[in-house]
């Protein structure tokens, strides 16, 4: 309707359109400066706001990076302290064990050495007796044969043979004794060798441990100095730990689900099968609560054993109190495991009862038949019911890792999100600025005619020398504005 009215301002619609266009262009031309200012102000404000937001997000990101770095370094420092502490404890154990045995070892070594010395002294070879007959024999030989020298020589020969035989016998006997003594020294030598070998092993172990401690201490120092390399290593380790812990927790959840299946049905016998809390059966909730209590007991047990450090209060307890806590939590776990084994048995009984009833209702004679090997599944269920609570105790270890690595991983994700957001805001801010320039150009597009005329008129009124400079300066000024 309004369009048709506008077209009737003259009898000729085409002329009306031309007049309207001229009027519109004139209006746009006269409002050009104000419109440019408005576009510039709006787009500038938007760009400024987006830039500010980007700066703010970048600042938050930097803050988060610093916080994440601090968390990582603190976690890494704590972990390294634990490792070094454990290594020192091992070295201490080794040294204590060897030093405790040192007086005994020293006594045994000294005894062995004394025995060897004594045996060695006994085993000294006795020098052979000097020959006493040789000179006498030569004198007798020079005597005249008629003076019965031959008989004397024969006697001497006889005596010498006899003495030689005795000397040889004594010599052999002495040698046998010496060999016996040397043989006695063998166990002592072996003892010394064994003892020294053990000492060598202990020393090597201590050296290995000290090398490991050196390595850990180097890492610890880089962490304390807050070096980028340490942060990078800790960050990647944290992500790896996160995924491994998540995987193990998923496996543990599957175990808990099996445990739940084992006890949910018989729980209906205890708390009723038709009561509901919200949308869930009370029996199911009771079974879940039992599993949760078992996991909690497992956490306390691990904490009391100082395997995990989720609750500083438990870690700070006195050793006596901790031992009591270990005993109490273990007894509770044992009782709950026994209860679960009983419930698993009850489950099998109920299942058989239900199968028999359904078979009766279906008039199926095969359903009520008793399987002879049924005891295997019953025993397996009972075994699982007893073992699973103890297996779930070890959930505490991946849980601790998961909780600790979660902080870092969430921080890293937050950093990535903030970084992306800052980038998007910066791009949008720049886009808004360029959009302002584009909008001004688009505004000028229908005004090409008056603008051209304006430029021509300006050229005509100004001296020729200024024309070139003005023409060059105009687009630049416009762009700057």
């Amino acid at each position: 309707m309004s369009k048709s009215i506008l077209l009737t301002i003259t009898p000729w619609p085409a002329v009306s359109v031309v007049i309207l266009l001229v009027l519109l262009v004139a209006a746009l031309y006269f409002a050009r400066s104000t419109a440019h200012q408005a576009i510039h102000a709006a787009c500038g404000a938007l760009a400024h706001g987006l830039r500010l937001a980007s700066h703010s997000v970048t600042h938050a990101q930097a803050h988060l990076v610093a916080r994440n770095r601090a968390v990582l370094l603190a976690a890494g420092r704590e972990a390294k302290e634990r490792i070094v502490e454990r290594e020192f404890a091992r070295v201490g154990d080794t040294v204590r064990k060897d030093l405790a045995g040192y007086p005994e070892m020293h006594r045994r070594l000294s005894g062995a050495i004394v025995r060897i010395e004594e045996d060695q002294a006994k085993a000294v070879e006795v020098p052979p007796e000097a020959p006493g007959w040789a000179q006498a024999v030569s004198v007798v030989a020079k005597l005249d044969a008629r003076n019965a020298g031959a008989e004397i020589l024969a006697d001497i020969h006889k005596s010498m043979v006899k003495a030689h035989g005795e000397a040889m016998r004594d010599y052999r006997k002495a040698s046998a004794e010496r060999h016996g003594l040397l043989r006695q020294m063998m166990p002592d030598w072996r003892l010394i060798q064994l003892t020294l070998g053990r000492v060598n092993k202990s020393v090597e172990s201590v050296i290995e441990r000290s090398l490991a401690i050196d390595r850990h201490m180097e890492d610890y120092e880089t962490i304390v100095r807050g070096e980028d390399r340490a942060v990078s290593v800790l960050s990647s380790s944290s992500i790896v730990y996160f995924f491994i812990a998540a995987l193990v927790l998923a496996v543990a959840t599957a175990g808990a689900a099996i445990n739940f299946t084992l006890i949910a049905r018989p729980m209906a016998e205890m708390v009723g099968g038709t009561h509901f809390i919200g949308a869930f059966r009370t029996a199911d909730i009771a079974a879940l609560v039992i599993i949760m209590v078992e996991i909690s007991m497992g956490l306390f047990l691990m904490e009391s054993l100082r395997i995990t450090r989720l609750f500083p209060v438990i870690g700070a307890l006195t050793d006596k109190m901790r031992v009591r806590m270990i005993a109490i939590t273990f007894v509770i776990l044992l009782m709950m495991a026994s209860v679960e084994a009983g419930l698993a048995y009850m489950r099998e009984v109920l299942l058989q009862d239900e199968l028999a009833t359904n078979a009766l209702l279906r008039s199926d004679s095969t359903g009520s038949m008793v399987n002879q090997h049924l005891w295997i599944t019953t025993a397996a269920q009972m075994g699982m019911g007893f073992i699973l609570p103890f297996a779930l105790v070890f959930v505490a270890i991946p849980l601790e890792t998961f909780v600790h690595s979660l902080r870092t991983v969430v921080g890293l994700m937050g950093i990535a999100i903030l970084r992306t957001l800052a980038l998007i805001l910066r791009v949008l801010g720049n886009g808004a600025r360029h959009f302002g320039v584009l909008a001004q150009s688009i505004y000028d597009l229908p005004l090409f005619m008056p603008l051209w005329l304006e430029a021509r008129m300006a050229t005509a009124t100004r001296p020729a020398a200024d024309v070139a400079g003005t023409r060059e300066a105009e687009p630049w000024q416009e762009a700057r504005s």
Binding site: A268, G272, L350, L361
Partner: protein, 212 residues
């Protein structure tokens, strides 16, 4: 202050525990014993046992006979509400099955068929049980045949009820004119749906999966 907190916690806990009635099912099974339909008793037993196997602890079931005058408690052959504990509920199922078996063996044909009276009795029973789901199963040919003096032209309130007609056999007259059979079923459907109920017909007893 402390006792008040304990009291509040107890109130919340008891409030959160929903009573068993809100999730249970009530089933009322009407078995037609009139005339020639009495021969279908074995099929009726099959359906009753199937219903028994589908029911859970805290559910209610009743089996009643349709005869000349069905609006009476005397017609209820067996009724029970299953215990909360599954093992006791199993025992109750077995005992119920035994009673049903006994009834099937001793059932005698009735001269008339008062379906409306049986439905009234079913509505009364299930409303009294206040079950969350109410199912009326009618094992009949759905041909009502009232004795003289019985007034059954009364509106039935089936709000919240599922009415399932099972094994609706065709009569000899239906074979001559099938429109009679269709009209009979349509009449009952209109009557049930007018009363706010949901009507269904299951003739194939091998496909009772959708039932309960």
């Amino acid at each position: 202050m402390k006792p008040r907190i304990v009291l509040l916690a107890l109130t919340l806990a008891t409030g959160a525990c929903v009573p068993p009635g809100t999730h249970n099912t009530g089933v009322y099974l009407l078995v037609d014993t009139s005339g020639s339909y009495n021969r279908q008793m074995n099929k009726a037993e099959q359906i009753i046992l199937y219903a028994l196997s589908r029911l859970q602890p805290a559910d209610s079931i009743a089996v009643a006979r349709i005869d000349t005058a069905s609006f009476t408690e005397k017609n209820i052959i067996a009724k029970t509400t299953f215990d909360d504990r599954p093992s006791t509920a199993n025992q109750q199922r077995r005992a119920f099955a035994t009673r049903v078996e006994k009834f099937v063996d001793q059932a005698t044909p009735a001269p008339y068929t008062d379906i409306t009276g049986g439905l009234l009795q079913a509505i009364e029973f299930l409303n009294e049980k206040q079950t969350a789901r109410k199912e009326i199963l009618i094992f009949s040919d759905m041909k009502e045949d009232l004795a003289k003096g019985y007034v059954r032209d009364i509106p039935l309130d089936f709000k919240g009820f599922d009415v399932v007609a099972l094994n609706v056999t065709k009569l000899r007259s239906d074979n001559f004119d099938p429109r009679q059979y269709l009209a009979r079923l349509e009449e009952w459907r209109v009557r049930v749906e007018k009363g706010g109920g949901h009507w269904r017909v299951i003739n194939d007893l091998d496909r009772l999966d959708g039932l309960l």
